[in-house]
């Protein structure tokens, strides 16, 4: 399941709801990863743009991979502004056993960073500044360059 929220994530509500939803599905492990926006380099927070059609297709492909191992993925992400010390990203794996889940959460988050069509901006003095130096080109980038 993929959910997108305007502004910072209500982490307690999301995690609690997910836990209540999945506790009777007989998974042995529920492994969440929660990102927290750090106060660093003078930023007031982060801001995000998302291209939803490709994000949804990317997530569905990962869900199929997880299902082949008897696991399931959950993910929540923010759109727009997210202040310091709040959260913009939660992902979680549900799996029959711990080892499969720990491997999947690592692989999933790594590929999320490399492939999910989400653009990050630093919030500095009320301006959105594209985090170009921290961003990764998608596979096939440069196709139209001369």
């Amino acid at each position: 399941m993929l959910e997108l929220h305007d502004g910072p994530l209500h982490v307690e509500e999301i995690i609690n709801r997910w836990y209540i939803d999945i506790r009777y599905k007989n998974f042995g492990a529920f492994i969440p990863f929660i990102g927290i926006v750090r106060d660093e380099k003078g930023i007031d927070g982060l801001s995000f743009d998302i291209y939803e059609p490709i994000l949804e297709a990317w997530f569905e492909a990962w869900q199929k991979k997880a299902e082949q191992e008897g696991a399931m993925l959950l993910m929540a992400h923010s759109k727009g502004d997210v202040p310091n010390h709040t959260s913009s990203y939660i992902s979680a794996v549900l799996s029959p056993q711990r080892k499969v889940g720990l491997r999947l959460i690592n692989d999933f988050v790594e590929d999320f960073k490399a492939s999910a069509p989400i653009w990050k901006y630093d919030l500095i003095d009320g301006e959105r500044v594209y985090a170009k130096n921290r961003s990764m080109p998608l596979s096939g980038a440069g196709l139209l360059s001369t």
Binding site: I54, A57, A116, P137
Partner: protein, 73 residues
């Protein structure tokens, strides 16, 4: 006319172009000074699927998206 969308930080309004393939789009964009800084780092999607070759036919109803480097989370 195919519709071209410039996603995320590119900050350019969508345009419509009369092209038959991505090679023709590359030739059109080569004359756009504002796009120069983006073309080398952008991926390209045709109807929301990333493409890796210029030898791709484009129909008038198609949507082409330029996707700059990403950083979710």
């Amino acid at each position: 006319m195919a519709r071209i969308e410039f996603l995320g930080p590119i900050g350019k309004e969508p345009v419509e172009v009369d092209i038959k393939n991505l090679k023709e789009l590359k030739e059109i964009f080569a004359q756009d000074e504002k796009l120069k800084e983006w073309l080398g780092i952008c991926a390209v999607a045709l109807n929301d699927t990333l493409v890796k070759s210029l030898d791709v036919a484009v129909k008038p109803s198609d949507k082409i998206s330029l996707l700059p480097p990403v950083c979710g989370g």
